[in-house]
Amino acid sequence: MTDVAQDVIAIIKKKARVDRSEIGMDDKLLDLGLESLDALELVFDIEEKFNIEIPVNANDANIGGFETVGDVVREVEKLIATKA
């Protein structure tokens, strides 16, 4: 697992409303009990951590088109690469 993945998972773990000892790349965000306001806080924490802007619209059915933890990690890695 990459450093980015570990950091993202640590942030998600803090916001998750279900108690999971392990969160993996295939876990679905909805299954982790992340409600819409949680998701906004999640995006904020990730943006702060990596100093990136994640283009997200809270009106989207699943926030930012992210279904799984892996989707978030891949997007963050892409945005970091674009920035570099």
Partner: protein
Amino acid sequence: MHRVVVTGLGAVTPLGHDAASYWAGLKKGEDGIRPVESIPPDKLNQKVLGEVKGFDSQKHFTDRQLPILDRVSQFAIVAAKQAIAHAGISFDGELSERTAAILGTGVGGMTTIDESFKRLYEDQQPRVYPLTIPKLMVNAPASQVSMYCGLRGPSFAVASACASATHAIGLSFQMLRSGSIRAAVTGGAEACITFGGIRGWEAMRVMAPDKCRPFSKDRKGMIIGEGAAIMVLETEEDARKRGADILAEIIGFGMSADAKDITAPDEGGMVRAIKGALNDAKLNGEDVQYINAHGTGTTANDRTETAALKTALGDHARNLAISSTKSMIGHALGAAGALELVATVMSLREGVIAPTINYLGPDPECDLDYVPNEARQTKIDAALSNSFAFGGLNAVLVARRYNG
């Protein structure tokens, strides 16, 4: 027409974080205006304020709850829960739908406004916390109280600066009296002690540098405070039915606007609100033994309020007791009226009047009985609580000792 009674009190104040310690501090004449701790002293000219010290957010809220709660909402929720526990009432089912949560707030989430915009302007940070808006909005305290306490009736914020809480309680009183609601969790909250906020007050040049001395000679102005006071109001029949301990009765409410000046107080506006409240209560001036004054400690307010009391009450103004609890806790703006009504309710209940502290002696233009420096024991049947706000907005409540 229903009779309206007070059955629970809650407060977060510079003198203590619950209504009982607040009232105990007031009776002792304790001065809650102390050196500023929340803002680095070298950044301010004002060295003393009425801060709520030692308020431990973590004690009252979880890490998950806290990010969305501005300090003002935290004060409101804590005070509301105390008031509800004190009243011993539970808002289940139909009662919840007929219980209002109406709170006064002068400026809303000032800490959030200050901190968020500092990030952008000064720290050059690219973003602010995603729930900045619902955290800073002026109705956040009212909404959070409705959510935390499960109150599903009318809920909104009342903003009339220094009269906000009195207007909020007055509206709740009217709704209860008319029968449109059965209970209300009402009062006010303010947390306006931020660098930007206090610099704004300094710019107005109305604050005393050391002590708040309402109605005293050599008074130098008001001093900003913060806090919350919330009370449970019910119809008398509901309160009696459930065997509640009735603390006092609210019997009248008067309000007016000066329509003159955005800051200068106006005797005429004050008089109309006082007389309006007495008429509403069907009382004569002579029936009142105590007035919890607006009494900010500014030259203009205290002189004008004294003149208004003489005009509204005639010679009786010289026979009654007047005190300003702001001398001890400062001016908590949108919470002030509720903090003062709590003091008024306790005065009626216990027959003790909280003093006006830091009083040095009479001013030629303030020549009434201001209960200087020490609390006084005296039976009170009826009392007024005055609030006169920036914007020329006046609100006065009449409360009565409950005799059954």
